[in-house]
Symmetry: C2
Subunit: 462 residues, 2 copies
């Protein structure tokens, strides 16, 4: 690839401004209040794919938010890269913890981003990372260097489970046919320690409701005499882990792959400083499953976390009430071989079984997805590794991530191709949190690296 | 007392309309948004005491909401009755569970109230029950039958702990001097089973905050590796009860009075049908401390209930977040001899001690109060019993209540007088719940019974 650095230098301000405009639209898929913004964002993506050189671009309707599809087929004998990304974002709350409004992007310097970072909801996850691919495409078409066929599939429901993308993929296997899938929706270890994600955890996300009495009661008149659904819910959730922080759901670990000593030793080579980790989070100790390190706990081990809990009086002051109902949102991160639908069933059966008399329990599955592993000897991984070597001057470290992109396992199943996860974010970029940001350096480095992936993938595929 | 029934019959519609106007003002003391409504309610009470025949009526400023004081002293040789009540109400939420708006009172018939009940927040607790005393006063002064001196002290902070009333009482012992205190802020067993409350539970109400990491985290990247404050909070709360539903806080039961077999046998004579109780609450089983009956659990035993819990994402849909903080409001009902301030300290120490590494815990006491017992051989109790006999045709049953009126123990301490709890509400009146109501029959029966208490109290005091 020629002239990529000079092209980026010349268009840097426009690249940043286009992303900033995209970040101003609050495309929160979880909250129906933002429906028009999500739809507007799909239109912006369509325009940007057209401007980047895609020949056919369409907004494909689904039962939920649309999928933006674009392609440029230059030669049926050349390999085809399918780029996947998402234009929806996580809800921004709690709003009061943002230093600047989540949909008014600002560029500020940070310790990890001395060249500045764009602060906004979606800056890293995934608008910024997705848009790197659009700008890489622009470079390759503008300079006549596109070495492969390219397809883009950008969806608007990743943050709520991608239910309609799954149907779309199943119904459009020919259209989506490809030789490798490229996604930037993960992170890397540090700006001077490039890494490529080779494993993802699966996910099962459920909502539980515990009902006690049929109405809110006065805690003086009824306290101690009836099952208080909040107390019961805390007891039930607490019992989901034993004293070693193993999950107590029967059958939960049945298919969990146990890594060999050698593999664990290999993993342990990744740079990690426990003191820095604790300092960054302002905690005096880490916490987790006995017998595993922090990096193992959040990558090769399944987990169960409460993501939200509510019930009773939560306003100012005091109210002496026993609530009729209590609720929690609970998600389980799964490792390869754990089937998320089976785990969801195990959870439901277990949770219903441990409900004491005097209460009723309802478990509603939200969504889920399988875990995934990419082999590092695949052409796709090799092409990515060479691209990073060129732009970072270092061989990237293959790394398992604790996060989930449930659709990746489905891609393999339906489209029979492997996914390469070229993530340019950092763990400290606060995705899903207040003050999410994405380094300007990382954004431009992604735009620089992606075209080299195309080049090497085309070469290695010959 | 002459003509009381005919007086009530003649003025019934006005008695109801005045109460309905009072209920239209949302005097929620817990929520600063209602400040003007609380203050407006104090003005209404002042007017109504003047209209009822009080000679001196004043709105006494405090550091919080004012206390309305009124009196009519007819003869310093006659005994003095001090009436206490409160004009503030509980918050009305959850609003969506009300069949009619909480501040638009309507009269509807119910199974327990075939003559109709007034549905509104505060209908029973305590505007309706407090206003019975105002109307009883009106009757006695209008018909020149007042047999005692009367003082009224109506406060606006009962639902948030009466902190400023305590100061007011301490600073105004001479002004408030009395021979008996009369309160209607409790219930009775049934309209055909009159009862008088002889015991109240004490209360300690605290708010807890558990902090894990210093910011919300992505549950995929951090899940399993750090203490999730919601999971930890559920574990900590769950551990507050053992498998017999005993409270595990060290020292908690030290001063709890154990009732004799005989006393428990006497209590067990109160009419109670467990099947009806379960049906009314739509539960398949009761739940509570091993070794005690339902009526014992909610009256002579101390309890610990979570009144509210919140943390993480509680909006629509799913968010894969590990919250930085989780919160709960927890109240303990105490029995006589348990000191609430000591119990609050024991709770704080215990809760801080059980917090695992990797978390920080903050416990904030909200308010509290001591338990109380009224002797049934006192003149006040005897006068009340005779009054009920006249109007209900039955001797009322002395009964311990599970509720708390923290100020009652303070009255005894500061004013050296006993309190008589003449409550006319029913357990099913849904106080502190959606669809709170108060029977029209009960309201008028209260207005009829109260003057007879004055008559018998004056006679027995001679």
């Amino acid at each position: 690839m020629n002239n990529i650095q000079s092209y980026i230098k010349e268009h840097k301000d426009r690249f940043l401004n286009e992303l900033i405009e995209l970040l101003k639209v609050p495309s929160v898929s979880a909250d129906p209040a933002y429906k028009n913004d999500v739809l507007k964002t799909a239109e912006i993506i369509k325009k940007s794919l057209e401007n980047a050189g895609c020949i056919t671009v369409e907004i494909c309707k689904t039962d939920g938010y649309p999928i933006v599809y674009g392609e440029k087929i230059i030669d049926s004998n050349l390999p085809t890269v399918l780029v996947y990304g998402h234009y929806d974002v996580q809800p921004a709350d709690p709003l009061e913890l943002w230093d600047s409004p989540p949909y008014e992007p600002v560029i500020k310097k940070t310790d990890k981003h001395p060249e500045g970072a764009i602060f906004a909801r979606g800056a890293c996850d995934d608008k910024g990372q997705m848009y790197m691919h659009v700008k890489a495409m622009e470079f390759m078409t503008a300079t006549n260097q596109l070495p492969c066929n390219v397809k883009f599939m950008i969806e608007g429901e990743e943050e709520v489970g991608s239910a309609n993308l799954a149907t779309f993929v199943k119904n459009n296997q020919e259209k989506l046919k490809n030789d490798v899938i490229l996604i930037s929706d993960t992170g890397m270890i540090a700006n001077d320690v490039p890494s490529i994600t080779t494993g993802l955890r699966g996910l099962s996300y459920v909502e539980v409701e515990v009902t006690g009495p049929n109405r809110d009661l006065h805690s003086g008149l009824y306290g101690g005499a009836v099952a208080n659904p909040i107390n019961i819910l805390t007891k039930m959730i607490a019992s989901l882990h034993d004293e070693n922080n193993h999950i107590t759901i029967s059958g939960f670990y049945d298919n969990v792959e146990e890594l060999s000593k050698e593999e664990r030793a290999e993993m342990a080579k990744a740079p990690f400083n426990l003191d820095n980790y604790k300092t960054a989070l302002d905690i005096d100790a880490v916490y987790g499953e006995t017998g595993y390190t922090t990096n193992e706990r959040n990558s090769i081990r399944p987990t169960l976390d409460v993501n939200g809990i509510w019930g009773g009086y939560i306003g100012e002051g005091a109210k002496t009430v026993i609530a009729s109902k209590a609720y929690a949102k609970i998600s389980m991160r799964l490792v390869p071989n754990q089937d998320w639908e089976n785990i969801t069933k195990l959870f439901m059966t277990h949770f219903e079984n441990i409900a004491p008399k005097g209460t009723k329990v309802k478990v509603t599955p939200h969504h889920g997805g399988q875990g995934y592993v990419t082999p590092i000897n695949s052409i796709g991984y090799q092409a990515a590794s060479k691209a990073y070597q060129d732009t970072f001057g270092k061989t990237p470290i293959p790394q398992r991530s604790g996060g989930s992109i449930p659709i990746v396992a489905l891609f393999e199943q339906e489209l029979k191709s492997k996914t390469i996860l070229m993530g340019f974010g950092l763990d400290s970029d606060a995705i899903h949190s207040p003050n999410e940001h994405f380094g300007v350096w990382n954004y431009l480095k992604g735009i620089e690296t992606i075209p080299l992936f195309y080049k090497y993938f085309a070469e290695l595929s010959q």
